[in-house]
Amino acid sequence: MPAPDDRPVIDTSAPPEVPVRLVDDFTPDLIDVGAHHLCPGCGEPIAMRSIMEVLAEQGLMQRSLAVFGIGCYTAFSNNLDCEVLQALHGRAPSLATGAKRARPELVTVTVQGDGDMVNEGLQEVLHAAARGEAITCVLLNNGVFGETGGHMTATTTLGQRTKNTLEGRSSAEHGHPIQAASLVAGLDGAAYVARGAVNNAGNVAKTKRMVERAIEVQLAGAGFSFVEILTMCPTGWFIETVDAPDYLADTIGAVHVGGVLKDTLADA
């Protein structure tokens, strides 16, 4: 209910002096520095927060390795208080495979965007999934190459306007979008596949549970786990930051539909 404008503004410059319980700090344990150079309204730090919170809550901070692809989110790797390996475009699942085979005790999570994973290195993630590597791959999907100006990727949905599909992506001219999570779910080596989003607080909570489950599957050695996270890119979409959550739900979210696509550990 909207309140009148004469409401008193609460002092939020310092913690209250009455007895309180801290329920959420500025940054979770594994994010060292909160400040970053990603754009206003970007969904990627929200997704990274969920992933890092899961690792911290499960006490895996000393044995976790993140393998980053190349995209805007790569800049964020400097903020993380865990080991980070930097891969070439699209190659993160292969580096993660090597790291995991050499050091099986590691909890290995890859972070890639849709341009990195689906355009530039789709075979890497598919083969890693088919081999049933005990790694967790995270796809941050915003449907555009955000870092290089907001042009179309392989996951851009039909009709979506991007810098090089100004009239909207057309199947005749640009082909159809690839649904990465659905593709991975079709492979027998994939034990857990889910698709979440970070466009509202409810979806952030659901996505965090998906990441939790994916890590659980990895720790159980049940096979390959994959979480696609739909993220906002208002800069790349050329829209206002406040409109981005609904735009995500209406365009990308309508095609790349959320939910758990596969969970063999639960089915067993």
């Binding site: 009148p4 939020t12 209250p16 329920v23 500025f26 970053h36 607080a201 952030v204 930051t241």
Partner: protein, 86 residues
């Protein structure tokens, strides 16, 4: 308007200068007690959120914020504010 006393179960510390003004927290807040400033800007030139009575400490703002602006507290005893006399 309502003459009910307002109950505030939680509160925030807002790192104003970390904010990039994306406004995601405004729509994310279930009790709708965050609002963007209209004229005041932070040191980076962005408008930023301010908090009113009625926070529940639900963490929706801190979980959606891309810039980690919020620290969320829950009061051990909820604060009750009687409606001011008109």
């Amino acid at each position: 308007m309502s003459n009910q006393p307002s109950v505030t179960r939680g509160t925030l510390v807002i790192d104003v200068d970390a904010c990039k003004g994306c406004e995601l927290c405004i729509d994310a807040c279930p009790p709708r007690v965050l609002e963007m400033t209209t004229h005041e800007l932070n040191s980076r030139g962005y408008r930023y959120p301010v908090l009113f009575d009625g926070c529940t400490g639900c963490r929706a703002c801190s979980q959606i914020c891309p810039d980690f602006v919020f620290q969320v507290y829950k009061y051990e005893t909820p604060m009750v504010r009687e409606p001011s006399e008109e």
